[in-house]
Symmetry: C2
Subunit: 614 residues, 2 copies
């Protein structure tokens, strides 16, 4: 039977052969081993394939219902949530001291790929529950941890992330929700938040809302924002549930996709009875919330990877089954062939494969960076890997979601007319995936973060260190027969990226600053492409020697036969072909895009507002 969601062999390849996660088994991971990791991934796949995927379509059709303040999630979610919590997936990579499974972060990434690929809408609930719990773990008082953390990490209670307001979307500093000190350790919260995922649901008995609000008298803008834990139902000092806490869900949004994810408008304190507890220090709310935001940004990139991967495997399977037309080289009386034989379909499939696998490597790599920071033996090492996480976060979010979305659109196209019907899952996967380029900060926001904050980190040294990692792979690949040219191309692309970043950084300090930032998104795209070129070169460098071993020096047709008949050889050859495709086709186009960025064309900025027409 065809595989679904994500290619098991490729996942294993990235974890064990490319990123060699066995090397992580030291420090806090000293008691773990790759066998445990394999078992965990099998369990994740089982849950995804057997429980989350079968309810995908009903999630779209049933969606969430709204009834007088209550949200009814799809029927299948109750069982799915229960199993998800029982499997302790909420805390797969959290420390055992706080009730976690203590696994490496990279496995949280790999399992989220499966969960989101199986059911994007479902995956949002645990993402938020965990993220909110993490804030309590990191910033809560002992009392707050005692009251909330166990219940949140076990999934008995849910969580959210309450930033956005009607007039303060991406501009969080403009929020108007207020908090008034009651003098008893609580604050009265008053305001309205919109677009709150999982803001109300019927999966958990309580929901803990981290809410950004301004304490009366605090300064305007982000410097005056504090964060509060606001339970849906008040939690008494002994941990028992108290009164309803005056948090009302006024409406849910009707959306293009993720119909089963409740996107809520929440009003806090309309009866003056909503209380919250300050989390962390006064006026430090943004910094605290950013921790959750960064976690979710990485998660959202992985969600898009999951959707893209699911779409790819479905398209691949369809292309192998669907008989249409004749082979281009065959006579007109030839029999019909599966559409995978048509060159344009192959082009779509290899493009989808190249993005999916490249994004998998990139997102898993970022997970490994987090793990390396966790097991680092000294602060310097820790800072080194953490800085990679910081610079990669906007790329993982912005680039993975844009390219992941494109893959899901290609998936529709491979199916042709059927892809446009709701009979097949392709259009739903795409509709669900589209949200990933928007929530947790649009692509434009990620691009501004990358260019404005992350590239300049430590005077550009973090960016240069990352390029240094690319150069290591380039150096290795240059010594592998058949990869010399690909290595040289990735090398040149990395150099051009550095040049482009320098040109933009210089422009950003000049009167052309607006033009520099009008190039932020193309730069994000280019950096993502170069990183994926690196990942594919790395994959090829790992695969080439193994392929040679598997085909035992054969050439020409004998080699082709060996590749076609040996599963491992086919896989490794597929890695090298995909690297050739990505580096020669995609990355060559990227060189053109980087040329265009360095022209620093002013037109987007120079055009008079009236010149846009309308």
């Amino acid at each position: 039977m065809a595989q679904s969601i994500s290619d098991r062999r490729d996942v294993q390849f990235v974890l064990n052969e490319q990123l060699t996660i066995g090397d992580l088994c030291k420090g806090i991971y000293a008691d773990l081993n790759t066998k445990t990791f394999d078992l965990l991934m099998n369990e994740a796949r089982n849950l995804a394939v057997k429980e989350l995927l079968p309810i995908l379509k009903e999630c779209d059709e049933e969606g969430c219902k709204f009834d007088n303040g209550k949200v009814i999630t799809p029927e299948g979610f109750k069982r799915a949530w229960k199993l998800f919590c029982e499997g302790e997936w909420l805390t797969v990579a959290d420390d055992m001291e706080v009730g976690g499974q203590g696994m490496p972060q990279v496995l949280a990434v790999a399992s989220l790929e499966l969960f989101a690929g199986a059911n994007m809408a479902f995956s949002i609930y645990p993402m938020l529950a965990h993220g909110a719990g993490k804030l309590v773990e990191l910033y809560g008082t002992d009392k707050q941890k005692e009251l909330f953390l166990g219940k949140m990490y076990s999934g008995e209670w849910g969580g959210t992330m309450c930033l956005t307001e009607p007039e303060a979307g991406s501009d969080v500093g403009a929020l108007t929700t207020t908090a008034k000190d009651n003098g008893d350790g609580t604050y009265s919260i008053s305001g309205t938040k919109i677009f709150i995922s999982a803001g109300e649901q019927d999966l958990t008995e309580n929901i803990i809302h981290p809410v950004l609000a301004r304490i009366e008298g605090s300064p305007p803008g982000t410097a005056g924002i504090s964060i509060f834990l606001v339970p849906k139902i008040w939690v008494n000092d002994d941990g028992s549930l108290g009164e309803d806490n005056d948090v009302v869900c006024d409406r849910i949004e009707h959306k293009m996709g993720i119909h089963a994810s409740a996107t809520c408008q929440l009003t806090f304190g309309s009866k003056g009875k909503c209380r919250g507890m300050l989390l962390g220090e006064v006026n430090k709310g943004m910094r605290i919330m950013f921790h959750m935001m960064n976690e979710e940004r990485l998660n959202v990139g992985v969600q898009a990877l999951g959707a893209a991967s699911a779409s790819y495997l479905l398209a691949l399977d369809y292309a192998r089954q669907r008989i249409q037309g004749k082979n281009l080289l065959a006579g007109k009386d030839a029999p019909g062939v599966p559409i995978i034989q048509h060159p344009d379909v192959r082009r779509m499939l290899i493009k989808m494969k190249a993005y999916v696998e490249g994004l998998r490597s990139l997102n898993y790599y970022t997970g490994v960076c987090m793990d390396r920071a966790r097991i680092a033996e000294n602060d310097e090492e820790k800072a080194y890997w953490q800085s990679f996480v910081d610079i990669l976060t906007p790329v993982c979010k912005g680039y993975s979601t844009e390219r992941g979305w494109e893959v899901t659109v290609d998936g529709i196209q491979v199916y042709g007319g059927y892809g446009y019907t709701t009979e097949y899952p392709m259009e739903q996967i795409a509709r669900d995936c589209k949200i990933t380029t928007i929530y947790e900060g649009t692509t434009g926001i990620q691009a501004m973060d990358l260019l404005g904050r992350k590239i300049p980190m430590k005077d550009g040294k973090v960016f240069m260190a990352l390029l240094g990692e690319i150069k290591k792979t380039v150096a290795e690949a240059k010594g592998i027969a058949g990869l010399e040219e690909l290595a040289a191309k990735v090398d040149a692309a990395a150099d051009k990226l550095a040049e482009t970043a320098q040109a933009l950084a210089k422009a950003a300090r000049s009167p052309k600053v607006m033009t520099a930032f009008a190039n932020a998104t193309p730069f994000l795209d280019s950096m993502g492409d170069v990183l994926l070129g690196w990942m594919h070169l790395w994959r090829a460098a790992v695969s080439a020697p193994k392929l040679e071993k598997a085909v035992g020096g054969k050439t020409g047709e004998d080699r082709a036969k060996a590749v076609a008949s040996n599963k491992d050889a086919a896989f490794y050859d597929g890695q090298i072909q995909t690297a050739k495709y990505f580096i020669n086709v995609i990355l060559t186009t990227t060189l053109g895009r980087m040329d265009s960025i360095r022209l620093l064309e002013d037109a987007p900025v120079e055009m008079a507002d009236a010149g846009f027409g309308g």
Copy 2:
């Protein structure tokens, strides 16, 4: 009030200033003038804005209902159809002798842009009614014309296009519908067709289905296909309606978008009582149907243009209204600004504008080519312009729909989270638009047509003649102050396109033929980009002298003030800025893509099927 659907000023610019359609007023158009054209465009806009646009959302929500073989279209369609037919929009560009309005084809294009931009799903019904009628006009016997044509061109009866079958999608030659000669001038038709737009509906009292079928004993493949006129209700010899003709709608598809367009599965002759009349000669069905297909392919490109244009104007208006964040250059206490001031939003808007306007010029130009063929004074001239229509058809279809779709996706992104909700029209416009890359032949099919059939037309002379037209504009623009560099870049891009086409043509005649065709879609994309570069250069060449006149030699801030305060100056300056953006940013990236094509990377073809994984 903000404009909707398409920018009136830009439409007028293309028609009157760029393409100078007044020059068409000779031959069959001798009695017309630009004033008539303006009146016609005003009427089209009225119908689109006042009737079709207001029912857009209900079309999505109500959709088509299916009830025991009947299709119920949205309530609003009855009035819309009536007004559409009363306005004689079905036959706006048909000869007056057959009941048409006798207007130039370019105005049929420009009005379809408005209708499709207002309501994509609605626009499908008249497209098919007209296309089917056109087949009767061109290939029908006098009797067939007498029976059908008046009713079809007036919109009393509808039409369809019955090609696709469950096992014969893009591979029409594999169809299994049969026709048996009854010896009385009729044939018994038997078979099932799927994905039949407007296959059943409640707008017209009858529907005439052009149906591809194989007469018993005809050869296999496309060479044995004939085409039949199969009425839903039989039409008696005196023109009166007879019996139900055994054409049954079994189901309608549920789709990602165009919910109000009935996509039907039709079974012909399940009771053995379905009759059709042969249209044209036996076994010439494909050639005849291709006439309709080409008409619809051009229409579909225009549909995508309409959707893109509507999305752009909505996004532009939103960006001018929506206050979020501060100007990048302002201090942190500065007030919020409309998001059009943010560089990344400007980038999205200018990109959308550049594609919309470029596509408008390209699609209108193709309409003008049809008109020039119609008014040609000799066969050679006629053939010259007709050959442009032939080579441009797959580009207008394939490229307009892909880029149009991308624009509608950008439109969602400009709206941010709101774009993803059904509260705003952005996500519907995108969902509706997605079908355009699929129906009437997917993008891949268009690309194969372009590379395999159209580029080689007359040994490449048509392609070279088209490049010759580009060179004329380049030569003119090189003489205009400020445009020299842009002209040189378009020139170089056109040369590179020629080089790329030659490389692919050579590869197509070599063992690398599969690799050549794996590059068909990137070539289509590149050719579209170069054509749009041409169109933008042309626009700039028309605008530059008019801008100079409007700003009267002013420079620096005085000039900027003059541009901002003078509507015409703002428009012409906007043209030049957009040309700079498209040629420097988009076209520079395209150079990279053309480089990548010329590498003729074999990986998509060489990869073993097993190498794709799954």
